[in-house]
């Protein structure tokens, strides 16, 4: 499908009329601080960012896919034209901004001037969004966020029922499992990706098992439980702020100690780093401490609150996919590897790895953008597929749902022959369950 056919999918009004230049200028002016001005003027076109970008590497080093080209051709051009842009231009931008960048921030590490290209791309996405130009898959989720506070449009009743169901289910495996809803003063408020309760509630069940065995004091909130933030990737900053604020407000209302995030990459970026700014918090700090599952699981293993049965460690060669927003942008790359040391016998790191690891190609809103973008997602994912294949691993562990989805797709596309696992499912399989948590045996012949 041609790029311009993909573009023009709309959010909000669905209008296809002329560009509202006044609105475009307002957004450009709002972003026109010293930082963005400096970055736009500072780029020396040295090309060092190009080699860092997996889109560039996957497409025969096409210079049009170098990060510098991408921000120059979009936001740079918007400023150069002083906002006087037409719809055809914005639709070409749409193709670059969403189809050729996952805002993984790897290029920023390699830019000698430290230009944060992802931030420039995000600003340009905001301009396109303001004119109703955004990938359809993202637009769909925005409606759900507005109406229900979560990207899947799940009602409070359905969510609570799912929690009750999973408490029942897991009670058969771990004695005493509960999933407390809205418990005031809990140490942790667990927030999740709505795809968990909606499509794979076992995920919540597994988390409940781990927290129960670890003796944790925790709760799930009846609202504000969606820690994802796709409006952040769609360019809808006001909605992105509302989404993250709903989570912060609920944590403050319940008086919990910390907010615990599920194994999701961009949720960490949103809640811990970008969210405070999106929500208008002046000091840029979340009002409640944010803890990613990777950190908490590592602490449980380190402190012996969760112990692994050595006989149940993964025997097959396994590798670890660093989600960009957990490792590079979240700083948890060593914790991920320490967890792997507890859970695997034959760990094989990818090259490059840790904060230098390549994006899988599913981030930045790419996975929810849907089938229309799948061809390009598979093509650019070749870099990740090659990285995985070179490890010889049969298992890929990743604490991110978008990485999980993307690597499953790459597995089929490139016939990698791997299984993709989350950390919590390996812990659940391998942890030593103390006697007090073993399920009660049903008496034989009991009525």
């Amino acid at each position: 499908m041609a790029a311009t056919e993909q573009a023009g999918t709309v959010a909000g009004t669905g209008e296809k009329g002329p560009v509202d230049v006044k609105r475009v200028r307002e957004i450009l002016d709002a972003n026109n601080g010293a930082r963005v001005r400096t970055w736009l003027n500072l780029c020396a076109r040295c090309g060092l960012c190009a080699e860092s970008c997996f889109f560039y590497l996957a497409h025969n080093r096409d210079p049009r896919l170098s990060p510098a080209y991408k921000f120059k051709k979009t936001l740079g051009e918007m400023y150069r034209r002083k906002g006087r842009v037409d719809r055809a231009f914005l639709e070409r931008c749409h193709d670059i901004l969403w189809g050729e960048c996952t805002t993984c921030k790897r290029c920023s590490m390699y830019c000698p001037f430290g230009i944060d290209i992802a931030t420039l791309i995000a600003a340009a996405r905001g301009v396109c969004y303001s004119q109703g130009i955004v990938p359809e898959g993202l637009a769909r989720t925005l409606v759900n966020y507005r109406e229900t506070g979560n990207q899947m449009g799940m009602s409070v009743e359905d969510f609570i029922e799912t929690c009750e169901w999973m408490a029942e289910e897991t009670g058969d495996e771990i004695r005493g499992v509960t999933i407390p809803v809205d418990k005031a003063g809990a140490a942790y408020m667990y927030t999740m990706n709505p795809r968990e309760p909606m499509f794979y509630p076992q995920d919540l069940g597994m988390l409940a098992q781990i927290l129960t065995v670890a003796g944790e004091d925790w709760t799930v909130p009846s609202t504000g439980w969606d820690c994802t933030n796709l409006p952040m990737f769609a360019g809808d900053r006001p909605l992105a702020g509302k989404v993250v604020k709903a989570m912060y407000d609920k944590a403050l209302e319940l008086g919990v100690g910390k907010i615990l995030l599920t194994e999701c990459g961009h949720a960490y970026r949103s809640a811990a780093f970008e969210g405070p700014y999106l929500a208008g918090i002046p000091d840029g700090k979340p009002p409640v401490e944010i803890v990613h599952s990777v950190r908490l699981f590592y602490e449980y293993l380190r402190d012996g609150r969760i112990r692994i049965d050595p006989a149940k460690k993964l025997k097959e060669p396994a590798t670890y996919q660093d989600p960009c927003n957990v490792s590079r942008n979240g700083g948890l790359w060593e914790e991920g590897r320490k967890i792997m040391a507890y859970l695997t016998e034959d760990f094989r790191d990818m090259t490059p790895n840790r904060e230098h690891n390549h994006c899988c190609g599913g981030g930045g809103g790419y996975i929810p953008m849907g089938p229309e973008f799948k061809g390009r997602r598979m093509a650019s994912g070749r870099v990740k597929a090659d990285q995985i294949r070179e490890t010889g691993a049969r298992i890929v562990v990743t604490p991110c749902h978008n990485c999980f989805d993307q690597i499953n797709d790459l597995n089929k596309e490139y016939e990698l022959g791997v299984r993709v696992l989350s950390i919590k499912e390996i812990i659940c399989e391998a942890m030593i369950v103390p006697e007090e948590f073993l399920p009660e045996q049903e008496e034989e012949g009991a009525e």
Binding site: G137, R195, M198, F199, Y200, G370, P371, D405, N408
Partner: protein, 169 residues
Amino acid sequence: MYRKIVFCADLYASSDYAFAAALDLAEESGAELVVLHVLESRHRYSGQVITEDGETWATEEVFDKLKKKLREYYLSRMEKEDPRKFRVEVRAGVPWMEILRFARREKVDLIVMGPYTMEDPDRFAETDHPHLGPNAQKVTLRAHCPVSITTSPKQRLAAKADEQSGPGS
């Protein structure tokens, strides 16, 4: 005895046996018969589903189109043209999970299903040689109510149907 029976339509012709068995039992016991199909998600966290038209979003339009087709298909296999105790439901997600969720929510008394699964299309040709797919396995192990996996026309659930079939059937 049974107030609500759910038949899980896997879209394989072989599950017609399971449907016939569920229908017999529903008619005999005066139970409501629900035909449930789960559009399988691409991966376990995916909001996109696999349909006969390819990968797509799980929208109301997709649900309604499939519901209409399933209703026509199964009504054509029923003697009563407009049974009041019959409905078709479509969900999206991981099939075994959605079947269990539906059964729990709707307080279903019995789940009837065929043995196969869409998860493993390479084994599609093997439907002449029944094997138990992962959805049937997981539903059987985890459901709160009895589950009947029906693989042949000889396997009937209603006592009356057994009598009609005669001894040894």
